[in-house]
């Protein structure tokens, strides 16, 4: 029985950390390229919304997943245009997108589903039957979910892309020293665009997870997950594996918080666990976390 509780805890931790991880890795791509992306929250929300919308109209959840990615990319492209092409303040742009997403999803929800808080129920993704891993009790629920498997692949693929490919090198170089990259013939704004759009695709996929897990869209269902993802990205020192680890930690803290409820400790204290964990980890354990040197700085090409 106790063993089962541990397994249940682990699978809950993984489920909770999926949207965090996807958004945090997205943020990593964006910021490694030198664009601060606090729009992750809005991208998650828009991704979830387009996912529900597409699934509702086509009846095919896979189309919904693609739509979530497209919705995420579309939202991120706004951020990219504003902050790369027009060189606007990136925090302001991100915040504006978050507020816009909150309002716009409610608006369209009301037009389409007649309620500004909930959509109708949609079909979920099918469960996959994975050999060996699928035979473990309780944990099998993790390995039967296509989106969780995709997330695991994405974590390692992102680490590889960022540190072992020429695209990754270029992305990091425009985030560290865009002038140097430019002088070597790297198109700074194009590479930055790629980073931001990639972050939109990943966070959009995180939105798809939220929608699929719930089989519907609820107003404000991202509930601050984008911001927690940003924290995880920093804790993970702007690297995908680190971000995933940090997200697992947040997932564990949140899961622990749920398991501990109903004991004699006041709920309010238990609800603090994830946030206390953040502060402790940020302040104590990971040491200095250094952002890319040109993070948040628009690149002005020098003119002779």
């Amino acid at each position: 029985m106790d063993w089962m509780i541990v397994l249940a805890f682990i699978s809950q931790m993984v489920r909770i950390s999926v949207p965090y991880t996807l958004a945090a890795i997205g943020g990593t791509f964006s910021e490694r390229g030198g664009v601060v992306n606090i729009a992750l929250e809005g991208i998650l929300l828009n991704g979830a919304f387009t996912c529900v919308l597409a699934t509702h109209y086509t009846g095919n959840p896979w189309v919904g997943v693609l739509a979530a990615v497209a919705g995420g990319v579309a939202t991120a492209s706004v951020h990219a245009v504003v902050s790369i092409t027009f060189k606007a303040e990136q925090i302001v742009s991100g915040l504006a997108i978050n507020l816009l997403a909150m309002g716009a999803t409610r608006f369209f929800l009301r037009i389409i589903f007649g309620s500004s808080s909930n959509s109708e129920r949609i079909a979920g993704l099918p469960e996959w039957d994975v050999p060996v891993l699928g035979d473990i009790p309780v944990l099998s629920t993790i390995f039967s979910s296509p989106l969780i498997l995709a997330t695991i692949v994405i974590i390692f693929a992102s680490q590889f892309v960022l540190f072992k490919t020429s695209f990754g090198l270029r992305l990091r170089s425009v985030g560290e020293h865009p002038e140097a990259a430019d002088s070597l013939g790297v198109n700074v704004s194009r590479v930055r665009y790629a980073g931001v759009l990639l972050s939109g695709a990943l966070a959009g996929l995180g939105g798809a997870w939220l929608a699929m897990d719930q089989h519907s869209f609820t107003d404000g269902m991202s509930s601050g997950r984008g911001y927690i993802a940003l924290a995880a990205m920093i804790v993970g020192k702007w690297n995908p594996l680190g971000a995933a680890g940090a997200c697992l930690m947040f997932g564990a803290a949140e899961s622990l918080q749920m398991q501990l409820q109903g004991q004699d400790v006041p709920t309010q204290f238990i609800q603090m666990i994830p946030y206390v964990a953040t502060v402790v980890v940020l302040a104590g354990f990971i040491g200095r976390s250094i952002p890319p040197a040109a993070d948040g700085v628009p690149y002005e090409k020098e003119r002779q």
Partner: protein, 367 residues
């Protein structure tokens, strides 16, 4: 200064029409026509509106009702939708018209109430305890309008404006009954409760539920969890799902939720784990057919309807009105959908408990 005068002069000198190319001339003409048309149309509409308003006053049946929803909004398939049904019934049976606002976070609530109060609405509803302070203040600002607040939280010693009707429910009584059903139904000896925001109002549901379960089965184990300590806890279905999943995996066989949209996640969990859940406020059977044991009903719709009716009858009066089992304002669902889930033995037992609560033999605690 100079600029200003230049601008004025510029606007006062129209471009002679003959200088414009011919297509523009046509366009200008069309625009003028459109403008003229739109003015006349607008006037007609206004006249019509004035006429109908005058007619309404004569017949006395045309009352406009304003309503501001709680967090969660319309379509939560629970509390707010119940209030909306009351509006619809009033529209169909009494012929009133209504308008509603679904506010977002925080301060929108006050401005929404104010907006409706300064409009044509004769009675304005605030749905949810969160309106308590705002509606109190606004009822004082608009003494000629009538207000009603569902789940108004009464502060001892504080005076309620005479034009404000505070509607309260004894949720703990019906929660007691669904708690008894859950405990009698449970094979594992464990049942669960998922609350939204941790506040006295939701605590009433929990207290009644736990009390009812222990009354019929003293050894029952009730797992209690809350989604959070802010209003956002009423619309976080992902969290609701995880809370329910962990209660199911700890052995709970039935989970009662009192958590607005967050509860939609509880039903998701019930589907996934093939468990049982109990709905709240409205009949939530449709959320997970076959997995909804029953729903604790809070007839917000009846309260809303009755309040509107009292305005038309001229019997409206302010003050606190508390509704419970005896008034038929709270109950639990037993119909064709869940008849197979609740056998006669359990039903008989619960009906007896119901009688005892109405007669005052059992007094259900609210904390």
């Amino acid at each position: 200064m100079k600029r200003e005068s230049e601008r004025i002069r510029h606007t006062r000198t129209p471009v002679p029409a003959s200088f414009l190319p011919s297509t523009s001339k046509v366009l200008v003409a069309l625009l003028c026509l459109l403008f003229a048309l739109s003015i006349s149309c607008g006037k007609k509409k206004e006249d019509a509106a004035r006429e109908s308003a005058a007619k309404a006053e004569r017949s006395g049946a045309d009352l406009k009702v304003g309503l501001v929803f709680d967090v969660g909004g319309r379509g939560d398939k629970s509390f707010n939708d119940s209030a909306y049904r009351g509006l619809e019934r009033a529209r169909d049976e009494l012929g009133v018209s209504f308008e509603y606002i679904e506010p977002g976070e925080g301060s929108d609530r006050e401005s929404a109430l104010r907006l409706l109060a300064s409009g044509e609405a004769g009675i304005i509803f605030g749905i949810g305890f969160l309106f308590t302070d705002d509606i109190n203040a606004i009822a004082r600002d608009f003494p000629h309008k009538k207000f009603a607040c569902v789940d108004y939280s009464v502060t001892p010693g504080q005076e309620i404006p005479p034009n404000l009707l505070a509607l309260k429910f004894r949720e703990e009584e019906a929660s007691f009954l669904v708690g008894a059903i859950a405990a009698l139904k449970s094979k594992t000896g464990k049942i669960g409760f998922v609350g939204g925001m941790k506040i006295p109002l939701i605590k009433k549901f929990e207290a009644g539920y736990v009390e009812g379960a222990k009354y019929v089965r003293p050894d029952i184990d009730v797992l209690v969890a809350y989604a959070g300590v802010t209003a956002n806890a009423f619309k976080n279905p992902s969290k609701g799902k995880e809370l329910a999943l962990s209660q199911y995996s700890k052995g709970a066989s039935v989970i009662f939720h009192a958590s607005g949209s967050t509860g939609l996640g509880v039903f998701e969990a019930a589907r996934e784990r093939n468990g049982l859940a109990i709905g709240v406020d409205s009949d939530q059977y449709e959320e997970a057919p076959g997995h909804v044991l029953t729903s604790m009903i809070k007839d917000v719709d009846v309260a809303v309807y009755e309040a509107i009716k009292s305005v038309l009858d001229g019997t409206f009066s302010g003050g606190v009105r508390t509704l419970g089992l005896a008034e038929g304002a709270v109950s639990f669902v037993y119909d064709d959908n869940n008849r197979t889930l609740i056998d006669d033995e359990i039903l008989d037992r619960v009906q007896q408990l119901r009688e005892k609560i109405i007669s005052g033999e059992i007094i259900v605690p609210s904390t």
